[in-house]
Symmetry: C2
């Protein structure tokens, strides 16, 4: 059990971490920091923390684990601000969707930093969507580097496991490459499909079935957060997009040539891969 | 209430129509025809019909409504076989995902044919996946043409409504254009993304979150059926793919230029459109 867990940022992930940690008694005290008083109050009312305030140094003071659950772009500034009051043994982790830049910057600044990416909560945002079971059976990728402190890595691993995650390990650059494909690519493609479909004048949304709804669900995610993710991981997403455009061009050629063999091969291959996921949680 | 409803084909849609029609007492008798005895027996055991057999003419005999729930490619042959025994007032409809070719061919052959496309049951197949509530609040598009018999159109409309659908009307070519975008495009794109992601050597499926699962769910659909759909509607799907490749190329350029304004505009636009669907059933 942690002495004190501090969560920075009262959004969907920060709020859900607080709810899960309190429910599963992962820490003796859960503190939450928010930039705005109203956000801190709301998080406290929803039960996401034992104490919630706008005083960053007070929130971090005495913590055994600090979780950065803010937008990626402000993590470095926050870390510089709270570093002076950080307890010597305090471990810091984050929930950012892109890892190389964050891990490089915060790893230099904080001796016991370990990068994390819990893959949960695709299209919703805000603490009103927070759930104490958000992380149950969710994949959480931790991204240590050579210099990462081993006991800190163990503590972060155990923390995510304690709130329900299946923890996996990748290097930050492996993470960014894989997640560009399994998360960032689907996001921009779903958005692009929605835009292509809806630029048609015939009210196409009146004619959609469950497949379209599932396929495009992620496109409801917060644009500010996703713009930041796209920019931070733009090289890997660009490579993944290039591979996809090439694949789609082949499909288009098969349609033009009415090549049923090629189409069926491509669809069978995808079904074979995708069916694997049906037998996993 | 229909005197006799005959369903041709014991798959997911045929089976679900039978279950729904019996549950909602839409017909006094529900007959189901299957090519194989075992399939007919299974449909009967599952309660999808009052009588299930492999004798096509017997199944159609005396029916007030016949629903073709077979693959598109065999509909014409079946219709030619059962036409001689069809009652004079019998209405025929189908459940095919592409309409122009089917409606043209069957409309010439059968005086009281009306094309339909119930949009339900994306990735599953087979009668074992059939559900009596499959059509509840599902969109069903009926596709009359100028020569379509008005009372037949009304009967088909009422039938889909009676088993739970929200019925909408489009011409066959409008249908094929819209459905190419809202259903066929997502299908081939989901398959292409799965293939691009899984051709990576790092076991990417170990690192997927709920967004990827939703986004790619349709790619588990039956490849034979989807190959047929792709070939039948290849021109419209090709046009939609062309528009998507153009859109994705713009996203790629924005990533290359690190153009946050362009990326955010595109993501905001998609969220705006997609959020509309969250407030519909």
């Amino acid at each position: 059990m942690l002495r004190k867990l501090t969560i920075l940022g009262p959004g969907l992930l920060g709020g859900s971490i607080g709810l899960a940690a309190r429910h599963r008694k992962v820490a003796r005290r859960v503190a939450l920091w928010a930039r705005r008083t109203e956000a801190a109050d709301e998080a406290w009312k929803l039960g996401a923390a034992d104490e919630a305030d706008t005083d960053l140094l007070e929130a971090v003071n005495g913590a055994e684990l600090v979780v950065l659950a803010t937008p990626i772009g402000v993590m470095n500034t926050l870390a510089q601000q709270f570093k002076p009051v950080l307890a010597k043994d305090c471990v810091v982790t984050d929930v950012g969707s892109v890892k190389y830049q964050v891990v490089t910057a915060l790893g230099e600044l904080l001796p016991r930093f370990v990068g994390s990416h819990p893959m949960a909560g695709s299209e919703q945002s805000g603490i009103e969507a927070a759930r104490r079971d958000l992380f149950e059976k969710a994949v959480c990728i931790v991204t240590p580097v050579e210099t990462t402190d081993k006991p800190a890595l163990q503590l972060v691993h155990d923390f995510w496991k304690a709130i329900g995650c299946n923890v996996r390990t990748l290097s930050p650059s492996e993470h960014d490459e894989i997640v560009a494909r399994v998360s960032h690519l689907p996001h921009v493609v779903a958005a692009a499909v929605v835009n292509v479909v809806c630029s048609d004048g015939m009210n196409p949304l009146n004619f959609v079935g469950p497949g379209f709804k599932d396929f495009t669900r992620v496109a409801s995610g917060p644009p500010e957060m996703w713009t930041e993710i796209c920019q931070q991981n733009r090289q890997e997403i660009g490579r993944a997009l290039e591979a996809l455009i090439e694949e789609l061009s082949q499909v288009r050629a098969a349609l033009e040539n009415n090549d049923g063999v090629e189409l069926k091969t491509m669809l069978k291959r995808a079904k074979h891969f995708r069916d694997e996921l049906r037998f996993r949680v």
